[in-house]
Symmetry: C2
Subunit: 309 residues, 2 copies
């Protein structure tokens, strides 16, 4: 039996993919067992549960499972890095069931410095799904810690982390920009926030954060619309900053990777910068895990005896 078990193991969730020998996903499972929320029995118990009943196959995991404080710390691989280099840099640990779990290293951009874990696998997956982008593209990976990554000649050559999602959450929960009013779904307020960031010039949207409050006090932004305005301001700032320092360029493809609803916000923001983004790539992590396993020779690892003549 050939194939692969791929694990996308982050801070707050765990997903497992069972691939057949041709790389098609035969089954996907998900558990709320990120490395900060493990079940009793820890990593080994989580792994046994999520792969219960699956055949014995090579296992490859990406994400925070390989971080300091994860199951087994994997060093970061410095940029530039492509699929072949990442494939050669896999590590492994021996699980309690006596078999290995291979691990994908994170990437490090020494110029920041900046780091990613898990997004590198999504990037490889996205490149496998859209090979035309390998020559030159910037990928946007929205999330708690959004990544903007530049790919040139098939290799990741630079990236930056923006704390957009986390900043939005802490400002809403713990700052004066929060409030008791349930959030409205206000596309106009979102667009207004994006425009405020876009038009903030070199000063940037940091200096405009308080506008979310001032507009509300001014009676021109409903309290229930503050969340959408703030979301627009922070996402708009990602685009403003990326365009300001060349991480994104109007003459180079921009491609979203991630969850559709969140990516749709980025598409709306991009439109206000005059940039039309194609639909987001979903499930890039699974595709990247298969790519890396193939690069590393973990799959199609036909037992010797079948070659016997």
């Amino acid at each position: 039996m050939s194939g692969l078990i791929g694990l996308d193991w982050g801070t707050s969730s765990l997903r497992a993919f069972r691939f057949d020998g041709a790389g098609a996903i035969a089954e996907t499972r998900a558990r709320p067992w990120g490395i900060r929320h493990l079940p009793a029995g820890g990593y080994d118990a989580a792994l046994a549960d999520i792969t219960a009943g699956w055949p014995t196959l090579p296992r490859l995991a990406c994400g925070m499972v390989g971080s300091r404080g994860g199951w087994h710390e994997m060093p970061y691989l410095d940029l530039p890095a492509d699929a072949a280099q990442l494939g050669r840099a896999l590590g492994k640990l021996r699980a309690a069931d006596g078999m290995d779990v291979h691990l994908v290293p994170g990437l490090r951009d020494p110029r920041g410095p900046d780091v990613m874990r898990g997004e590198e696998t999504q990037l490889l997956g996205a490149l496998a799904l859209r090979p035309a982008l390998a020559a030159a593209a910037t990928f946007i990976q929205p999330g708690t810690h959004s990544k903007w990554a530049v790919v040139q000649g098939g290799a990741v050559t630079g990236f930056r982390t923006l704390m957009t999602g986390e900043l939005f959450a802490v400002l809403r929960k713990h700052s004066i920009l929060g409030g008791d009013t349930p959030a409205a779904d206000d596309a106009d307020a979102f667009a207004r926030g994006v425009a405020a960031a876009r038009d903030s010039g070199a000063a940037g949207a940091f200096a405009r954060l308080f506008s979310a409050r001032a507009l509300m006090l001014d009676g021109t932004l409903a309290s229930a619309s503050v969340p959408d305005y703030l979301s627009g301001l922070l996402i708009g700032e990602e685009f403003r900053a990326a365009l300001a320092d060349g991480l994104a360029r109007r003459d180079t493809p921009l491609q979203l990777i991630g969850e559709p609803a969140l990516c749709e916000r980025y598409r709306r923001a991009a439109a206000l910068f005059g940039i039309e983004l194609p639909p987001a790539i979903e499930d890039a992590a699974a595709r990247g895990l298969w790519q890396l396993a193939t690069q590393a020779g973990l799959v199609n690892d036909i037992p010797e005896e079948s070659h016997a003549c």
Copy 2:
């Protein structure tokens, strides 16, 4: 008996100043009774306690006490605004003791829009203490919500609120930039944060927030030094943004108003931008309350009979 009772009544604290007839401060009292932390009996009880034993004098209050959700909402006065205009725009409420409390309105910059309450009184006090700055200066008022205010020809002509203090607090308490390590006092880390903001170009320091984490993971920033780095990054961003859009200019005096320890951080940050700032002006609110009371004719209000001949 002539004189004034001045009240600087903010969100988290209340200070009262008893002025003699010449405007000298005869006594200062402080209570932790901001408008969100009132004692039993509310505003009236707080006022009675903090002025206990003082003679009956005109009372003038500035700050969040005049906000929506305060004791009595005062509308904002639109810019440009000088001491005379603010003096004419005072309001008042009748306290439970049967006497008035006069209130200073906040200011509104319609271009933001942006608003301030309390800082306008500090600005007038600073101008009274440093009259040479009235022609043209930018004042920096560090705090939970820092203000950068431009004064021209004796009037406040523009200002901006930066959520620096609040952002620092919520990121430390509630984000991945927090941590269990007690904060070191690391002036080098602070300077490094300031430099990161200064050198972030048009992209700005929003895009560098995660560097506080990445440098720590990289082993080049001690966990205990993250707070000082973050403080430098956020304060540095105030200077970068203000210089980027002309709110501060290298050919115009910059003057700090506020608490010495916090202002000292701003002086250190300014030095890394090549700007030498004079020492901060303290107790500007008290001086501003006296100025406004004088403008409004609340003091030296000699009873008619003393003029009788």
